[in-house]
Amino acid sequence: MKVDEIFLLNNVWIIVCFALVLLMQGGFILLEAGSTRMKNAGHIAGKTIFTVGIASLVFWAVGYGFIYGEGNAFIGMSDFFYGDFDSVVDGLAGSVDFMFQLAFAAIALTIAFGGFAERAKLSAYIVFAILFSALIYPVVAHWIWGDGWLAGLGKQDFAGSTVVHLTGAMAALAATIILKPRIGKYNKDGSSNDLAGHNQVYTALGVLILWVGWFGFNGGSTLEVDGAFFGYVALTTQLAAAAGAIAAMLIVSMITGKADVPTMLNGALAGLVAITASTAFVAPWAAVIIGLIAGFIVHFSMVFFDRAKIDDPIFALSVHGVAGIWGTLSTGFFATTALAEMNGGSAGLFYGGGFTQLGVQFIGVSVSGIYAFVVAFVILKVMDKVMGGIRVTEEEEIVGLDLSEHGSYGYPENIKESNDKIEKPGA
């Protein structure tokens, strides 16, 4: 039997991309740990690993089936407990496709947990990981990537600005509203304090790992090597990330007089999140514009949430939410005729497509965002009632989740002294 070389190469490429996307969790570990305080570092790193575990099992049991199973415009209803060795889906081995999709589901969950940072109970992570992976992410993914109603409208979301990033961010928004700000974030007079992350080097390295992983995320979303279109996707991805970093650094310097490092890092991520939807639809110059705008708005968004008293330690709402919305809308402006023909949907406003595609993008991003927020809010409210609160006690929060939830510090030597001081009153 002659080996189908393209089939083989497609599968090798996608399984490599699966590994790249899974490695993005390492980026999140560094990004989140670096953006938060030392006393929560072990917790925030460790929870990422076990929630990837939960996301994987839930995705295998029901997630994949809800997204890609045969069903209706709202949800798929077959292929639960997925897996065999000989099925073929869209020119890929079924298992390869499954693994690649699983990694995306896990990323969406990790983004959602940005809203939990430094104050949620470990048990809340576990329960929400199950419910988000079963009831929130798969539904939106089915609408846009499965056989859902938004796919039917021709919604363009190449690698998931809406499906992955906005869905995760809207759950994070619900969580951060219900959990309320961290102790010490806001003063009685309403002014806010900067609870600075403990390691900007971690945060920067986290961003770089995410950036590299994004070539799997966007590049792999071609789902094939034919025509080597992944090269073009990589090109637009790189340009948007670069423009995002520069734009954020520029705007924060112009407004505050200081080239704030966390803002610049968020600019790079915002560029990446924004180009995720549009990467396969837009010209390189448009990718630069999309990245620049993402970098600008991420700064204003960070300031907005801070003033609105929505405590967002990892900036998930700005980076994944606001930039996700912008990225989704951006194809409605910039999608070229040729690329839309090739990858679905129609040309954007600037390419003679009128408002049709922009309208579809707007409906898609609005309904998906509202769905993710409302369902996450209801789930978390119910959890809050049933579980006797989803936030740790004040004492536990002050001591830090490393010690209160896990019994040991991420940095035992460095925290010993303050730890002693905290423990004394109770001793």
Partner: protein
Amino acid sequence: MYSNKNSFKEIDEEFKTYEELRKWRDEQIHGVSKNHEELNRFHDEIMTKVILSSIKKLESEQGKPPARFAFIVMGSAGRCEQSIWSDQDHGFIFEGEEAAKDYFLKLGEEIVEGLSICGYEKCEGKVMANNPLWCRSCKQWKEQIDQWLDEESWESLRNTSIFIDARVLIGNKEFLQNKKQQIFTRLEDQPHLLKRMGDNVESSKKSVGWFGQLIPVQKGKNKGMINFKETVLFPFVNALRLSAYLEQIEEPSTIGRFQALENCSFLENDALSAFKEALQFRLSKTKVSQNYDNVHFLEVERLSKQDKTQIKKWIDQGDSLMKQVMKQLKNKGREEGSQ
């Protein structure tokens, strides 16, 4: 201004303790804080009373001061630019041998405590008379100044600039004059040091953004505020200090330096009035402040549009003054170099 009528006897009769003096200060301060000059005369009066009390106290324990001396004040006190709250910056120059040092250090200790009780915060940088670095005999000061200017480090040049803002509050004025002349002579021989001192203060903090907005502090307890002293006043202060080096002016106050330089072509005519207005503005905005921590800070959002425009104008004037002085320094350096 402190007058000789404050004899030790009168001090004793008026105020038995530093606490009583503090009480008097608190009662009087708001009355005198309408006018910048009046306020600084009042500060001088309080500080003088504290020092005379301290001397009297130590006299009763250890006898009279063992040598003639000058008690010098530096920083904003030296420049007569104190706000309603101020910290301590002072030292001793005394005559004679090292043996007297212990006495003056002890006196310094007493003064520091006395001033602290009377509302003057201790200097974080320890520029105080109880620190051996700032409590020296005339001979030691001479060596110290030479060493600072030989060392040419950022810190030693900064100390020189602190010292050049000194004025004698009590004691022998000649002691300080001699030291200032020593600095001027040294700088004539080493004009490149002036350029370095200029470079160190030239880049004031970026206080106006690209959109012409005032940039407040971004983080911490003074978030949303501008440091008026650093952003508005310091460019004037630094420019005039550099001019004082250049023209060998002993006068420590910025206004006094302006006046001494009246005929200097490189100073803009309206810079002096801008500086005076800015001092008065600070006083009017901060006279209700409760402590030294926030006396230099103004909340940007509470400033009127007119205030903001005025502040930006002062910042512009300060910057352009600084540029003119730097140009002058460079010219001087070139002249020296070509000789």
